[in-house]
């Protein structure tokens, strides 16, 4: 464009997707999405237009078939814990998703529920109340602390609230683990060992002991919770919560009782967490404070955020994805081939989503070729100990492609890991075809890191992944998988 002196050049047209998002109504902004005919868009539209009751029914139908084709051990870690995390996620979704309050002390309520159950249904004080009495008390105890926290934090804005609630989580661990006050001649919370030997869940004389019974019980709890929260979200209170989330100041000006709603959200979340805590304590037959640390918090947050703020269906998707990822990565879980397929499969899938279609083909072919070349060079120039390692996750051909040393090789694994982080940062800073080219060594480094470090330390890897996922999701798709995108209305 030739510049005429004196007349400034017209501003460049913003890309169309962006142009339609700012300053217009969300319905208009999404009109393009409504008209697109790609399979993904059709699927998304079908999902949106089907009634919510049908979705829940489908979920319950599929979930109740699970115990019939899964063995007992897998049902425990994959089925039972997915449901438990889904219930926890539903509670957190009220606080963070509906009301927009960043509650980092959520695990404390979970812990309070567990300890309440432990005090009232164990040989700790010889009280053996049945679950129909203990669980409401556990919920009430957690809710009460929720009220106190809500009152204390009604003046605090976003960031300060996060810090104060984080402190609540720390204080809870301190109280149970260190303070452990002596009441009636016994350490009230049992210190670091916690309270062991809790009663199984007993309702009106009927004991739930087997994994299957617990699974169905939790399924009922989760279904009821989801229904209750669905109606709460549709109600006047739900709308007020959303108003509070979008803009607390504007909500207050509209005469919405902001403080009361904040406390209500805390109480809702706390009661759900208390319920989950009681059930969890009964499942584990022990209440130990380390089970309510910040690492559990990050799992619940990852679930809610991956699923999408304020989306009830999203919590279920998030719980399934996160819990299964976590459990597959756990070292005591012996499914190495599934682990491998999940890891390489996810990467190939993510690459395959790139457009145009030529890019993924080139990148994958390039990575495979690159790997063999590097392996050949390393094998030719160094002694055998550099390449004689066996892939942790099985798969013989990987041993001929990835460089896996045996024995001690002076922090090789650490250099690979740090190199991977640096490579990802560099790749993300590049643009266009340069980025595509940089993907090749980055992907190879990812495989090296997986075989040499990540797969060996699954428990830690899970948290690295969850952390990276939170950063990545916030930057690229803050609404999560099933949440609704927010449109800026100017």
């Amino acid at each position: 464009m030739s510049e005429t002196p004196g007349i400034p050049a017209p501003p460049e047209e913003p890309p169309t997707e962006q142009a339609s998002r700012i300053g217009v109504d969300s319905w208009v902004a999404e009109s393009e999405g409504r008209r697109s005919r790609t399979p993904a868009a059709l699927l998304a539209r079908g999902w949106e237009s089907s009634p919510d009751a049908l979705k829940l029914l489908a979920f319950v139908a599929i979930a109740s078939s699970v115990p019939f084709w899964m063995n007992e051990g897998d049902l425990f870690i994959f089925g039972l814990f997915t449901l438990l995390y889904a219930a926890l996620g539903l509670g957190l979704n009220v606080v963070v998703g509906f009301a927009g309050l960043l509650d980092l002390g959520y695990v404390a309520f979970y812990g309070i529920g567990a300890y309440a159950y432990a005090e009232l249904s164990s040989s700790q004080y010889g009280i053996h109340w049945p679950a129909e009495a203990t669980i409401p008390i556990a919920m009430a105890a957690a809710a009460l602390v929720g009220v106190v926290l809500g009152f204390a934090s009604r003046r605090l804005l976003g960031d300060y609230l996060a810090i104060v609630t984080l402190f609540l989580g720390q204080a809870f661990v301190f109280f149970t683990n260190v303070a452990n006050p002596t009441i009636a001649g016994k350490g009230f919370t049992g210190g670091a060992n916690g309270i062991p030997q809790l009663d199984p869940l007993t309702f009106f004389g009927y004991q739930l002991t087997s994994t299957k019974q617990l699974y169905f019980f939790l399924l009922i709890v989760v279904t009821l919770l989801a229904t209750a929260l669905y109606f709460a979200n549709q109600s006047r209170t739900g709308r007020a919560w959303r108003a509070l989330r979008e803009d607390p100041l504007a909500a207050e000006v509209m005469s919405i009782p902001v403080n009361r709603l904040k406390i209500l959200a805390f109480v809702f979340g706390a009661a759900v967490a208390g319920l989950c805590g009681a059930i969890y304590a009964a499942i584990e037959t022990a209440a130990v404070s380390t089970n309510f640390s910040v690492s559990v918090l990050i799992i619940i947050y990852a679930i809610v955020i991956l699923g999408g703020f304020g989306s009830i269906a999203g919590v279920f998707v998030g719980a399934i994805v996160i819990n299964c990822t976590f459990e597959f990565l756990e070292p005591q879980n012996d499914h190495p081939e599934v682990k491998r397929w999940l890891f390489y499969g996810t990467i190939v899938l993510l690459i395959a989503l790139m457009k145009p279609w030529l890019k993924p083909v080139l990148v994958l072919a390039g990575t495979i070729g690159f790997g063999f070349v590097v392996h050949a060079i390393v094998a030719a120039t160094t002694d055998a100990s550099w390449t004689s390692g066996v892939p942790v996750s099985g798969g013989r051909w990987i041993g001929h492609w990835a460089v896996i040393p045996t024995g001690t090789h002076a922090n090789f694994d650490n250099y690979v890991y740090i190199g991977l982080v640096v490579a990802i940062v560099c790749t993300a800073s590049l643009k266009g075809w340069w980025r595509t080219a940089a993907l090749v060594p980055t992907l190879y480094l990812t495989a090296l890191a997986w075989e040499n470090v990540l797969a060996l330390n699954g428990g830690i890897t899970a948290f690295v992944l969850f952390g990276a996922m939170l950063i990545g999701l916030m930057a690229t798709r803050p609404q999560g998988l099933l949440g609704t995108a927010r449109v800026e209305i100017v």
Binding site: G100, A162, A171, V178, T461, F463, V464, G467, I471, M474
Partner: protein, 323 residues
């Protein structure tokens, strides 16, 4: 509860004036570390109104970079350099490394979220915290790295002078003097240079500053760099002084440094320095008189108290929300 009170009074009696001085000395040294980390919180908050949760972990990474340099230079048992050059290299690499880390965190975790709802960068920060902590846990195999108790650092722990019979060691003087030096440099940077002027303008009103031709993205990057450099230096000093470094240390120290920033008035640079020393001294006295397990709770109690009673801190200005 009153049993605890008796214990405290007993403890105060038995420690006497010498004990009180020793606790004060330890508190001031610890507090200067908090001050350095708190500066990072307060600068970022001032400029972006963002609570950078991950800052405590930048501090932790700084401590580990320092240890890594030590290991690369032949390890603490047989270092290739003398004490003074060794310290210099450790400080330089750790400060630079932390600074770069801070800039990268800003670039990838916070910059894409400049205009997002307020909760988004907080969650992103939570992600950074877990990413950094787990990464360091992975690299160090969850082990503790001990800096000191090695012959090369021996001279650091000899008394330099004594006050009424109570020794003050070299490392304590080193920590306090380095902290003061860095803070003076920071004050000079913020109040006497062009970059400092741009930083102050950006923190006053980002939009207006960018209309005045200030490249606010660069100013924000610079702020993160400077804050993280200070945290990196604090990390190495932490390693030298308290020795025990492990992946979870950033969480607790970050929270306490944040308390210091709030006590001093978040957004205020002199406030962060004052708050850091205050928190350090209070923690030291709480640990000395009531027992080690109480010191964290006392510090967080102060945080809650300040947030509820005087959220603007000691030196912070009144914040009025305009619509």
């Amino acid at each position: 509860m009153h049993l605890l009170l008796f214990n405290i009074i007993d403890q105060i009696r038995s420690l006497g004036w010498n004990g009180a001085f020793n606790l004060l000395r330890d508190g001031v040294v610890l507090g200067s570390l908090y001050s350095l980390v708190a500066l990072g919180y307060t600068m970022v908050y001032g400029i972006l109104k963002l609570l950078n949760f991950a800052h405590g972990d930048v501090f932790m990474v700084g401590a580990f970079i320092g240890y890594g340099v030590l290991a690369q230079l032949g390890g603490p048992l047989a270092p290739a350099l003398g004490l003074a050059p060794l310290l210099l290299v450790m400080f330089a690499v750790a400060m630079l490394g932390s600074g770069v880390l801070g800039v990268v965190i800003e670039r990838f975790a916070y910059r894409p979220l400049r205009d997002a709802p307020r909760i988004a960068p907080l969650i992103s920060a939570l992600g950074v915290v877990f990413f950094l902590e787990s990464s360091v846990q992975l690299i160090t195999n969850s082990t503790h790295s001990e800096y000191s108790n090695f012959p090369v650092f021996g001279p650091l722990f000899t008394p330099m002078f004594s006050v009424a019979g109570n020794p003050v060691t070299v490392v304590q003087v080193l920590v306090v003097l380095t902290a003061i030096g860095l803070m003076v440099a920071l004050m000079f940077l913020v109040y006497r240079t062009k970059l400092g002027k741009a930083m102050r303008a950006t923190s006053f009103d980002r939009e207006a500053a960018s209309m005045m031709g200030i490249d606010t993205d660069r100013v924000i990057s610079a702020t993160f760099f400077i804050g993280s450099v200070l945290a990196g230096a604090a990390g190495v000093m932490y390693g030298l002084y308290l020795s025990d470094t492990y992946f979870f240390v950033g969480f607790l120290y970050g929270l306490k440094a944040f308390t210091a920033a709030v006590v001093g008035g978040i957004g205020s640079i002199p406030g962060a320095m004052l708050g850091g020393v205050l928190v350090g001294v209070v923690e030291s006295y709480a640990g000395g008189y009531a027992g080690g397990q109480w010191k964290d709770i006392v510090v967080f109690g102060i945080l809650i108290l300040f947030l509820l009673v005087r959220p603007t801190g000691l030196l912070g200005g009144k914040a009025i929300q305009k619509v």
